[in-house]
């Protein structure tokens, strides 16, 4: 099926198998491998991207459902070689270790702050419950998001 999707500001016209998940389209067709796959049950959130500005686990959508949407992946978050304030906050607060959950975590966190610019710690923890991390124990992820919110 033919779809037209704007990804990180560039329009892509593609012909995809109907069963293709959005995450596979992003990774395999567009070659944007920053979006990671950590599970097969939509549990881990490693594949989170923004679809029309909202965080979506890209394994929960078919590529064909993304037809006509604007998508931002982790590769599209930095501008002019400058990391997004959320990326910067993760770096400054050691909010990542192996970095595998990180793209999804950052995408979920930016979406969280868009909805709630000044969350409490509890709200950050609840807001990120769809994204799993095995390295950090979340302590510094939460700290990173709160720091980004303060900026």
């Amino acid at each position: 099926m033919k779809i037209s999707v704007t990804v990180n500001g560039t329009v892509h016209d593609s012909d995809v198998e109907p069963r293709t998940l959005l995450v596979h389209y992003i990774r395999e067709v567009l070659g944007l491998t920053g979006t990671n796959i950590g599970c097969d049950t939509s549990s881990c959130g490693a594949c989170s991207v923004h679809v029309n500005g909202e965080a979506v686990k890209s394994c929960t959508m078919l590529a064909v459902q993304a037809d006509g949407t604007a998508i931002t992946t982790i590769e599209g978050l930095a501008t002019d070689g400058q990391m997004h304030p959320m990326q910067q906050a993760f770096m400054e607060n050691h909010g990542l270790q192996c970095g595998y959950c990180t793209p999804g975590m950052v995408m979920a966190a930016t979406s969280l702050l868009k909805e709630n610019p000044h969350p409490t710690e509890a709200e950050v923890r609840l807001g990120l419950e769809g994204n799993l991390c095995r390295c950090t124990g979340y302590h510094n992820i939460v700290k990173s998001v709160l720091a980004a919110a303060d900026k």
């Binding site: 990774r27 070659g31 944007l32 491998t33 920053g34 979006t35 990671n36 796959i37 950590g38 599970c39 097969d40 049950t41 939509s42 549990s43 881990c44 490693a46 992946t73 982790i74 590769e75 978050l77 930095a78 990391m83 990326q87 993760f90 770096m91 400054e92 050691h94 990542l96 270790q97 192996c98 970095g99 595998y100 959950c101 990180t102 793209p103 950052v106 710690e121 950050v124 923890r125 609840l126 990120l128 419950e129 769809g130 994204n131 799993l132 991390c133 095995r134 390295c135 950090t136 124990g137 979340y138 302590h139 510094n140 992820i141 939460v142």
Partner: protein, 800 residues
């Protein structure tokens, strides 16, 4: 002339941000699954749905004819590919029974997830689709899921072994064998407990991934793998596949966590290499999470019988341990040795006489093989002794903190030769415990308990601690030899000063989230007096770093980092010869500071390393007989393990009506000696603590009686989310290790080691007034409620 020290003041010990982060944060880092390999064939593995079955026949015709499929193989088809069975590097006893284990099973399967056939296809989807078309006729046999049942040999899993028992390994103190019984006979107090270390699934966020790429003109094989152990993997794949070692190159791109589960040589790695060799094309495999939960090794899985004897003051007089350890269906790389890594630690941080008796029996079950999981043997040991110490305090009617204080090895006793013969390098347990007690307001919580934990209260307050030693920094090679481990424990490093005074460091450690590039650059910057950004750290490619023993067992800094510091010293020694020659001075009269050699007492006679590097490169004017260039390689075999320690204190509130445990505060005071980068140390503690807390409260691989994993996905297996866990309060003390020049100890596993017993001690403490004396892990609402019910005999709950 004034020497300008442009070195950033005191790089070592600063909270330097990680150089690894920008690539990871922007999605530019490449994990194994991200590699672009045009023309690669995709491997998919058909796995047994039975825990224990005989394979009667496998029909592959329809799968082979499926669109995109290149080939289908059974275990029998590939037997000629293997020069030997899959490697198992730790025969803990001479008579250990270890079944031959091949990448695909033939004859019988021994766990759900055991590979029986595989498909090669042009796409991953085509390969996986074709799996459904393979017809396997199984004769189901009885599963063996319980360790004690396994030991009974009611059902024998591996016919040729004739028994499910793999080994019994004993640690007794020579010449003091009778002392244990005597101590128990004379004891004023004894405790006898049985603890279960439930099976855990490591669940690194990156599933495993492999790609094998044959090189042109018969030039060998490059194996990419999401592994912790490229060097060990290189040797093992060469041996298992009969490939000359120099033709194997292993590269690990960015690796998304390991926690021990990627410290292995897996069937899929061997299959990819074998099939890439056979088809002369790249072959890749990506693990799906649901398959990884059964096909990647599990951790823990022990039944522990713990006995303590103490005198009237509560001083420990004897420790007796009997373990039953679950190997799973086969042994993986170091399965049998995992309990041995804890065998020396069942007296914990306490001053014990020669009365120590440890015995471990390993048994096979029809479950996923076990192997290393963060802490590997040491969390289990620490849990046993720290839970039993609380029981002893309970029996004696004294505060658990008081009991620990009476038994601690004293600061003055270090280095302390333990009853097992191992020497603990340094420690100050009382200091760490006092800091933890202060940070957690231990006395205040005890006061609050008096008003909160009264009859009728449904929200009970508990506080629990664990004081631990982590035997890490694996390991002195001779000690490993005495444990029958097949390799050494050294680490290699090369420091190379390039002509422009930029530095290349080559390390045999293989990071997967630990930030080695940052920390190693800090060590070199400090040693050589260069800015850390001038130091490039090369790793995780056996062609670039041919010597190494990789990353596990909290070894990277105390072994690999120390090797780097030593290589710096060696480079400085050589540079000194050049400086002495050029400055026309005696080597003994030169001192090296701030990146320059200066003649003592003559500050104007100086030569910076940058100038020496260029002289070493041009070789125009070197001392006679000195080789050009500045490079030094060191292989460091540590003289001792490193012994980080600390005290963790957890405060919980338990809802007696729902069984819900809420962690109110978690304090961790850890001592890993000198900290190279406190930011990274804290991150390791945070992650480790939450993994240990997860064992205590959430996680367990749950099997039914037929050996099916009931929670084989991240939707069902409870890896905690941010909303499930608290923020942590960290403290630290610094007791340098005397065994290495940096004074460092490991920190990767400490959090996990301290956490589970601290949490469970807190839960049991909260419920002690109800008569609850033990709590199975995980302390889920269901298990807590059951324990309350069992203690109070009240089906309606405890508080009525």
């Amino acid at each position: 002339m004034t020497v300008i020290d442009d070195r950033p003041a005191g790089v070592l010990g600063t909270r330097m941000l990680r150089r690894e982060d920008p690539a990871l944060l922007t999605g530019e880092a490449k994990f194994c699954n991200d590699l672009n390999l045009p023309g690669a064939l995709h491997l998919a593995v058909l796995r047994s749905p039975y825990a224990h079955a005989r394979i009667r026949s496998i029909v592959t015709d329809e799968a082979a004819a499926s669109p995109g499929v290149v080939a289908v193989y059974t275990g029998a088809d590939l037997m000629s590919q293997w020069a030997s069975p899959m490697p198992s590097a730790w025969a803990v006893t001479a008579d250990m029974k270890n079944p031959a284990h091949y990448p695909l099973a033939t004859g019988k399967v021994a766990y759900v997830g055991d590979g029986v056939a595989c498909v090669l296809a042009t796409t991953d989807a085509a390969a996986r689709d074709a799996l459904d078309l393979i017809v396997v006729d199984y004769e189901p046999l009885e599963a063996v899921v319980d360790l004690e049942d396994a030991l009974s040999d009611r059902v024998v899993i591996h016919d040729d072994l004739g028994t499910n028992k793999s080994y019994t390994w004993d640690l007794k103190i020579e010449g003091h064998e009778g002392q244990v019984d005597e101590a128990f006979a004379a004891a004023a107090f004894t405790v006898k407990e049985r603890y279960v270390q439930q099976r855990l699934i490591p669940m690194a966020m990156e599933p495993r991934a492999v790609a094998a790429v044959p090189q042109p003109f018969g030039g060998g094989m490059v194996l990419y793998s999401a592994t912790q152990i490229p060097h060990i993997l290189k040797v093992m794949t060469a041996l298992t596949l009969g490939i000359p070692e120099q033709q194997m190159r292993v590269i690990t791109p960015s690796v998304g966590g390991g926690f021990g589960s990627k410290l292995d040589v897996y069937a899929e790695e061997l299959l990819c290499v074998a099939l890439a060799r056979k088809h002369k094309l790249p072959v890749r495999w990506n693990e799906e999470r649901g398959e990884g939960t059964v096909a990647t090794t599990h951790g823990r899985g022990q039944i522990q019988h713990v006995e303590l004897a103490a005198d009237a003051d509560g001083k420990l007089t004897a420790v007796r341990i009997r373990l039953l350890a679950d190997m799973g269906g086969y042994q993986q790389l170091i399965t049998a040795g995992i309990p041995l890594l804890g065998a020396f630690l069942y007296a914990g941080v306490y001053d014990l006489p020669q009365a120590y008796d440890f015995s471990c029996t390993g048994v096979y079950t029809t479950l996923t093989p076990t192997d290393a999981y963060r802490g590997a043997g040491r969390p289990e040991a620490t849990y046993a002794i720290e839970r039993a110490m609380d029981s002893l305090a309970d029996v004696m009617g004294i505060d658990p903190m008081e009991l620990r204080e009476r038994n601690f090895i004293q600061k003055e006793q270090f280095p302390y030769t333990a009853m097992t013969g191992l020497t603990y390098d340094s420690g100050d347990h009382l200091l760490a415990m006092r800091q933890a007690a202060e940070l957690s307001d231990y006395a205040g919580v005890r006061e609050r308990q008096k008003t909160q934990n009264v009859a009728g209260s449904t929200k009970l307050l508990g506080i629990g601690q664990a004081s631990y030693f982590e035997m890490c920094g694996l390991a002195p090679s001779r000690v490993l030899a005495s444990l029958n481990y097949s390799a050494g424990g050294w680490e290699a490093a090369t420091v190379r000063i390039l002509p422009t005074n930029k530095i290349q460091v080559v390390t045999g450690t293989s990071p997967h989230g630990q930030g080695h590039e940052t920390s190693w650059s800090m060590i070199v910057a400090d040693k050589l007096g260069v800015p850390p950004e001038d130091v490039d750290v090369l790793h995780s490619d056996t062609a670039i770093s041919p010597l190494g023993l990789d990353t596990y067992g909290s070894r990277s800094l105390p072994v690999g980092g120390v090797a780097i510091a030593m290589a710096c010293d060696k480079v400085i020694d050589k540079a000194k010869k050049i400086a002495a020659h050029q400055l026309e001075a005696n080597e003994d009269d030169l001192e090296f500071a701030g990146g320059a050699f200066t003649v003592k007492g003559s500050p104007d006679r100086t030569m910076p390393l940058a100038a020496i590097a260029f002289e070493a490169f041009t070789a125009h004017n070197l001392p006679d007989g000195l080789e050009p260039n500045l490079e030094a390689q060191v292989t460091y075999d540590p003289p001792n393990f490193s012994w980080p320690f600390g005290t963790h204190i957890c405060t919980v509130e338990v809802d007696t009506e729902t069984g819900q445990v809420t962690v109110l505060q978690y304090v961790a005071v850890d001592d890993c000696g000198v900290q190279v980068n406190p930011l990274i140390v804290e991150g390791q503690v945070h992650g480790g603590v939450i993994q240990g807390l997860a064992q205590a409260l959430f996680e367990e691989a749950v099997y039914d009686t037929e050996g099916n994993l009931k929670n084989a996905s991240l939707a069902e297996y409870l890896v905690p989310a941010a909303s499930d866990v608290p923020s942590l309060t960290l403290g630290h003390t610094v007791t340098p290790s005397p065994t290495n020049q940096l004074g460092v100890k490991g920190i990767g596993e400490a959090g996990t080691i301290g956490a589970a017993p601290a949490v469970i001690n807190a839960v049991v403490d909260a419920l002690s007034s109800l008569g609850v004396h033990d709590m199975p892990m995980p302390a889920s609402p269901h298990n807590v409620w059951k324990a309350i019910h069992a203690a109070t005999g009240n089906a309606q709950g405890a508080s009525k």
